[in-house]
Amino acid sequence: MIRFDEVSKVYRGTARPALNGVSLEILSGEFVFLVGASGSGKSTFLRLVLKEERPSSGGIHVLGQDLGAISSRKVPYFRRNLGVVFQDFRLLPNKTVFDNVAFTLQVIGKSKGFIHEAVPDALKTVGLDGKAQRFPHELSGGEQQRVAIARAVVNKPAILLADEPTGNLDPETSAGIMALLERINANGTTVIMATHDAGIVDRLQRRVIEVIGGRIVRDERGGGYKTQAHPVVNQGFGMAPSALPVVAPFAAPTSVGEQR
């Protein structure tokens, strides 16, 4: 489904690579947490999957396609197979909930009939069927994120990328969003979620990929936000040992640094 072969990414003007020799494979239908401090390379990973960036070296295959071989003219068509959700929702403030979701389908040339079938369907999936005519500013944060998720899945993508989708939400609302993402995953969509939310990661016990300084330091199925099994992996990546959590997963968010 997604395969990285020794992928490195160095942004222009920086010496330190954002990703450094990353190899991994994500299978169809998996639910993957991408954890690590801000600046560790999580977003770069997601952008590479989306082909918003090209790797400095290494090969990336997504959905059976070699991203290095896709011409820039074909990239939009490739992206139609992916849904993306962000921490800041990115809704269009002057469009209603319905139009926000429909916009996705309009701009890729779907017919009116299809849109009028697919959009209510997607809104129902995310639990917003009564609020199609509201505007984003009339909704709570959790509801806005649900609109964003509806927009991401309305075209039935094979992969859903979520970049800290619960970053702006309170724990209770986050739990609702996670239940929704799990439901979407259960329907066969591969979900890759970058997050800082230790509680969520620990509770769901899914595959966890931890990135530090552009390297994968842990790839664990059924793992938590911090593993006690290999605490040694953090050494040598610029972190003072005292900053490491001595006790337990719950200490993790404060020690791993920036919360936005």
């Binding site: 269009l92 701009v107 890729i108």
Partner: protein
Amino acid sequence: MRIGLVLSEVGQGLRRNLSMVISVVLVTFISLTFVGAAVLLQMQITQMKSYWFDRAQVAVYMCTEFSTVGGCDQQVATPDQVALVQAQLEGITLAPFIDTFYFETQQQAFENFQEQFAGDAVADLISPELLPEAFWVNLIDPTQSAILSDALGGLAGVESIVDQRSYLDQIFDILNVSSLTAIGIAALMLVAAALLISTTIRLSAFSRRREIGIMRLVGASNRFIQTPFIIEGVVAALIGSVLAGFAVVGIVQFFVQGYLAETLPLTSFVGLSDALLVVPILLGAGALLAALSANVAITRYLRV
């Protein structure tokens, strides 16, 4: 569906950037008016050239009693000398190049002069003796006046040989320079127009960056994203081009035909049909300019 969507985006963009759009309209208007004027001036020059060059004659002036140059010695050319020149013009060397020629006596020259400068003070100062006798020659190929100069230049009694085209050339040089000036100004203005269009498009894209970001994310094709912006630029430039078209037609109708043609009735001027020929050129140039600069601007904005 998609066309409707694209057009509504275009309308939104034009409304949102109204002041920039107006400046694009004005700059394209002015620059294309200059282009149109330059084209019309070139047409005018071509038209006048073909008109006047066909009528341009070569004058073989004979000596008067006041002339000292050429084969003259302050003596009126004798009838023998005149006959010799005429024989030369009719002879086998020159005849093949000559269409027609006629002889003008001093009295005829005087009458022509009086007619031409009627009411001018100089007409009273001139007497027939001051004006030379002359052969007026129409050549088959008006560019070959050098043949006459070579053959007749050294003859006794011939004062000088003058190709009227040399007078015309000066006039055409002046017209040419002014049309080149118009083209130069037009080129500068067109550069300004192109830059202004690309700035406008970039502003427009910036004000719609949220939409563009989402469109790129969900896989809208590049062409779909770019088309509204290009149409936006083309619409603004086309409005300017249409105004320039009206201006060019107006200049021809009211200034050239209404004023110049009345004042200088003997000269033929460019007409409305010429102006209407220029209008589609202006429209095409405006649309092309806008499409290119908008395309460059939006492509650079969207580059991954």
